[in-house]
Amino acid sequence: MGLTTAVDTGPDPDDLDDDVDDDLDDDLDHAARRRSTALWIGGLTAGLLVTLVLAVGLGAVAISPATVARIVGHHLVGWPGEVSATSAEESIVWRVRLPRVVLGLLVGAGLAVCGVALQAMVRNLLADPYLLGVTSGASTGAAAAILFGLGAGFGENALSASAFLGALAASLAVFLVARAGGRITSLRLLMAGVAVGYALYAATSFLIFAADSAEGARSVLFWLLGSLGLARWSVPLAVVAVVVCLSVAALMVWGRKLDALAVGDETAHTLGVPPTRFRVRLLVVVALCVGAVVAASGGIGFIGLVIPHVARRFVGAAHGRVIPVAALIGAIFLVWADVAARTLLEPRELPIGIITALVGAPFLLILVRRFHATST
């Protein structure tokens, strides 16, 4: 008896189209959803602009936000025409701090969106951009440059260039190992990334050992922990800017595909997203983006792991919303971490990786606890 009533509930199949046209009310609160996403993105963009002005002002020589705004305005758009600041202030703002803050926001945004993409790609919420051996590759490249002068042909950009090449070579190795069986699955990608990472870590250690130079080893260590200290208006900064902006744009456009891939390979396939082909494209974008970022700033940890989770808490898991929000939060967070790195122990500068790890590690522990609570 219960069976027949259950069977007969629901509208007729013919009504399906009419439902959609008649029932104008139920659009899953489409407008409200749009509005809330727009508010988050608008609010965070405003937060980023404020961050920019404040962060440039903070440091050994404090400069008021109004002065910062005037100097930046003068240089960017020629207004105001006259700047009532000392030439020292102008030099600090425009030549030293602004490029550093700009690099910081690019690095933060790049690492955060690559973390989001990686977590969807290997379907693991504890994945981070360094999983694919990219950092290890960059480290090996950087160590070779610092200790043995590799890439001297690139002149003053030798370090960035060889780190970038190392990152790309590592990604290529991960890709080739993961592809050995034909299909690139998330598990295969994870294992290839870990294996290549360890091999390159050994290579870097060997380089440090073989060079037998305490000073060199110190430079490599400092580089590994990350720093924005090399930032200035230069070609490498322009490269990072272009690569990060293109990556964020590409990942935003691929939002739905990322959703489908995160659900599963079969699902992605049945929604018209060929999983292996899409993974290869993602791999290229992530390798280029992380490679460029790491080459410019060293191995800054935890951003790519933690920021995606923060973004999801704010706007849910759909990637069309998570990508822009994660980019903005990553940018804001990294700029403030750098402010802390250069002001906490003045005049000495802390490696920024220490700050991000100090903030990120407790967060990760909370995440792991929560994760166990929901999965059991």
Binding site: D12, D19, V20, Q119, R123, N124, A262, H269, G272, A318
Partner: protein
């Protein structure tokens, strides 16, 4: 219409499917039945091009599957497959909206109309109230219905389902299958339960060790002399005023008379 002709598939040397054929007329519901490991899911996966057959041809409305672009295929064929649990906390609404993605251009966002279609699909399977819940936190039966809603939102005229009644209690098993029945789209469904197959399918294909052991109406296929050698279990047909019901018992316990 879906056809498979001479389809073979294998991992390494062993053939999982050997020269399997299948025809699903427009609007028909065809059930794939057979014991574990007989190739039901493998056959289904060749029907939506997740697996490429080693030999043979699969067509959708007369066009070879291999010639269809992935998104074009997804607009004409929706699938409810078995998939491991995903960790990503997507909401039910986001999950069902994914069904609209084959219809959207790369730079297009889901429109208000897409949201309406998703809402209608959720209402249709009776889980509209779950729209803002996280999909991974639902019960097995709720998940299954959300996945069917996603397939509905895809608005394809062909539907493939891999054991859609798994994890469902008896009432929802019937509810889901009668819903599928009423959609009047061309459907292939993998089923374990032969009594459900008898009630809701127009035609059955019985697989055994990767080959077709029998095909025809439920009445023709669900007979002791057909089922017993394949399932190695005693089968008893009981005619009732609500169609035929099958009863099973192990062969070695059968009455010697």
């Amino acid at each position: 219409m879906i056809t498979a002709d001479g389809v073979s598939f294998g991992y390494g040397r062993a053939l999982v499917l050997d020269d399997v054929g299948l025809t699903v007329e427009p609007g028909q519901v065809v059930g794939l039945i057979g014991p574990n490991g007989s190739g039901k899911t493998t056959l289904l996966r060749t029907l939506y091009a997740s697996l490429t057959p080693r030999a043979g041809l699969v067509t959708l409305d007369g066009r070879p599957l291999a010639g269809l672009e992935p998104r074009a295929l997804a607009r004409r064929l929706s699938v409810v497959a078995q998939e491991g649990a995903a960790e990503l906390p997507l909401t039910v609404a986001d999950t069902v909206l994914l069904g609209r993605s084959p219809h959207l251009a790369t730079f297009q966002r889901p429109s208000r109309q897409d949201h309406r279609i998703a809402a209608a699909a959720l209402t249709r399977v009776g889980v509209r109230h779950l729209a803002d819940r996280v999909f991974a936190g639902l019960s097995g039966g709720e998940k299954q219905r959300v996945l069917i809603a996603r397939a509905l939102a895809q608005r394809a005229d062909h539907l493939l389902l891999d054991e859609p009644t798994n994890h469902l209690d008896i009432r929802y098993q019937h509810e889901v299958l009668s819903l599928v029945r009423r959609l009047e789209v061309t459907t292939v469904v993998v089923l374990h339960d032969l009594n459900l197959a008898a009630r809701y399918c127009d035609e059955l294909v019985l697989l055994d060790g990767g080959t077709v052991a029998a095909t025809g109406t439920p009445d023709a296929v669900l007979r002791p002399e057909v089922l017993e050698p394949v399932y190695e279990i005693g089968v008893h047909r009981i005619p009732t005023d609500d169609g035929v019901q099958l009863l099973f018992r192990p062969l070695d316990e059968q009455d010697p008379t």
